[in-house]
Symmetry: C3
Subunit: 352 residues, 3 copies
């Protein structure tokens, strides 16, 4: 594909030879002749002198400083790159039909165009929407419902009565609807509290590999429309995650906590149970959030506080050792002076 | 079911109309007419004015302040709620029999009443106890033994020679008995140390979804009777967890560490290897425990220390920045005064 | 087996009765008559008085202080113990052949000696190397390639086009090649960026149970030769891990970060994206690494800094509360003195 055509499709402008033929896409470190790449972060500028790509997609802010023979200048270079990735996505094998090695309960309802692969288990009274793909060895429990155009990858478990909206992607090994962690404890031990609620995942949600989303004790655990969860995330019973919130890997959210819409949560963060976290909140990775958080706050640390305050505290901690040493030294210093001072007034006493 | 009957079953007392018909159970936020709910935490009191439930189960401490037309007052309202959940648990489909789509080795011994579902793999010389259910695509390795009345959920892996006691629940995707993480390292690389021990899980244990419990290098990794593990927990080789200990999600325990009985461990906590943690210890979430811990301690932070000390340290960190600024300012102040002072006594000298 | 023979095989020297018959191996806490054990850590010395093992393998540094009737003294006792574990490894059942309950695409190429067990799914145009074992319910995607002598344990997912080198072990439930976590966000939501790269795992790598290794957005996520990953580790898209690096459980590495060779990374550590971590770096467990790290550094804390500095900061935090209290007290003290001092110089003024 000619570079001119690529520029047209991404809505960018070519600076250099628009007739160059592009045959692939690669990261800047490895892209070779015939390949196009992207540069949208300062820290990758260092790769430019060694780059061998035939063209670089970049934004206006970098275009001047890059000094590279062939550029595609785009308003949003990462978005443009995404379009290019679509153009060069390797042919995918879309599975078709219902495998005779899948287990399909007679009362399951499989809509047109859905594919059920070998080893998948589709229990009684389930619903699998139009064009949804259920990969090998996935489990869809009794009365669970999966919307249209979904991908349920290999070895996913969706337990009974859970609901998945249209266009969701559940990555391999994720577990939707395991029992919430609830017990009544006495001197004899911990007695299981029935977990009779569900998990409801709204449309356009992506759940990462090996995530675990527990069902509600009673009522639902809800993952809002457009939410994106990275891998290995734990979501406790009766948690609600608002629309379009994005959460990085290995974060854990304890039972009954509500997270607002459009929040951005870093990796390995932890949330206590029964708290309310507002809309558009940003949580730095590894934070421990143990109380309510208002809308639009940015928080960090454990216990998580306003990020600027956390930065100040962290900076203070870096300085406080020296500070204490200085103060001790200056005390000793003053200490040495003090006897002098005492000695000084003592002198006049001696004088008389 | 009449409210009077519910009150009778949970051992509570009705305040209001005992004849009201209850048809379901729901959280206070969403419960509607005909539904019963629970209120046992101060922070949910705010929902009462908006509540639409036909009855609320609560304890004596809240009963007076709630001002709600129909209450069931119980000594332990959460326990009462658990009983109600049992009453309203939706009909469950209990799988029966051995699927002809399961792989059952001829030398496997399957006790009466056990159900083995499609895609499960039951290896040679295994034992599956009475009334145990093995869900689809679970793997039970060579000579492994699963007790009676267990649930081994979908895609669980139990490797060779591991043992699971009676009445255990292993949630989907959990891996029991993978190799411990042990290597002999030299300049050529890391050479695998054989991991020939087992995992022994005693009775009445619950293992959360996607947990990983490694087998002993030699000897056993042991999960004591009545232990409850939440999801995504890592248990290293040769760890021992004492009876009735409860551990929240995403905690990790390094090899050969011993945890006592009746401990309560928060989420995302980490334990170094080869340490001994006492009985009834409480560990705050996200703590990093790097040394032995005595019985009955409550610890927090990294490295984990007594929780009160950790709270004081955290409070100090919050104040120390201001403190250092004040001290610097007061020094400057003293600095400015000092010249004045020096000037002042200088004046009299000038005077004469 | 006679102890003399064991000593010969591990290259050690017997102190005591070399003719004793050894029938098994066990940890020092549980080893009984006829069993051999190892002692290579100071903290296990306390077990010696209670030990019942017939022989103890140890190093020269402990041999004198142990006072035990029968020792095998070895240069590297842990390595010697590993050899003994090999000698006493229980008979393993090595699966053979291709199960007729596995799904094997007609275009898959399965080399001699490979075993494919029931429920495994081997997609089109895959390659499974010589003597590799694919356990039940594993998934090998379109055009994926698995080298020789590998073990792909139960319920592992290896998605399309990923590559696994020779002699790799992928533990149960690990997910290789799920989509990287990449979106273009605007007011309408988060739009999926195609993830068209691969995961390339070089030879002699071990990937722990339920790990998740995401494919590159474009280009590859690379796990270098001889790397060992513990369980539940997250590796983001386009990460590169250098040869022989070892990472403990539950660590997470964000997208595009490079980790050097021979690094040692503790459990539950977190790495920000797009950073470069040098060779032979040591990272303490639970650290949060948010910037580049030079070769040979040892770091700890969040944000991670030089470990010694982190220890000093931690010690400062432990002391700073007392320090502030002292300073306040001494100020109050000085405060009381200060009026005296002011009074004192006032006196001379009075004098004239």
């Amino acid at each position: 594909m000619k570079l001119a055509e690529i520029a047209r499709r991404v809505g960018g402008v070519v600076s250099g030879d628009a007739a160059v033929e592009i045959t692939g896409v690669a990261p800047i470190e490895t892209a070779g002749p015939g390949e196009i790449t992207v540069l949208s972060r300062q820290r990758y500028m260092k790769w430019v002198p060694r780059a061998r790509a035939s063209a670089i997609i970049t934004g206006e802010e970098f275009a001047k400083s890059i000094k590279w023979r062939t550029l595609v200048i785009a308003k949003n270079p990462y978005e443009a790159f995404s379009v290019v990735l679509h153009l060069f996505t390797p042919e995918e094998r879309i599975p078709k039909g219902v495998s005779n090695r899948a287990h399909i309960a007679p009362t399951a309802r499989i809509e047109d165009g859905a594919a059920i692969m070998a080893g998948a288990f589709i229990d009684a009274e389930t619903f699998i929407g139009r064009n949804t793909i259920v990969y090998p060895n996935a489990f869809i429990g009794y009365r669970a419902k999966v919307g249209a155009e979904c991908r349920i990858y290999a070895s996913v478990t969706i337990r009974e009565r859970c609901q998945i909206g249209d266009r969701c992607i559940i990555h391999p090994g994720a577990v939707i609807g395991a029992d919430g962690f609830g017990f009544n404890s006495d001197a004899q031990g911990h007695h299981k509290v029935p977990q009779i609620g569900r998990v409801v995942i709204e449309e356009d949600v992506e759940i990462g590999a090996n995530c675990t989303i527990d069902r509600g004790t009673v009522g639902d655990t809800v993952i809002g429309r457009g939410v994106k969860l990275d891998n290995l995330i734990q979501v406790g019973h009766n948690v609600r995650i608002g629309e379009f919130t994005v959460i990085a890997a290995q974060t854990g959210i304890s039972g009954s906590t509500k997270i607002g819409e459009w929040a951005q949560i870093g990796g390995q963060a932890g949330f206590a149970g029964h708290i309310i976290v507002g809309n558009r909140v940003k949580v730095v990775g590894q934070s421990g959030v143990i109380g309510d958080v208002g809308d639009d706050e940015t928080i960090a640390g454990y216990p998580a506080v306003d990020r600027m305050r956390w930065l100040r505290n962290t900076a203070s901690l870096e300085r406080v050792g020296d500070f204490m040493r200085e103060q001790r030294a200056s005390e000793r210093d003053r200490g040495r002076k003090l006897p002098d001072n005492r000695q000084a007034p003592a002198k006049p006493e001696k004088k008389p």
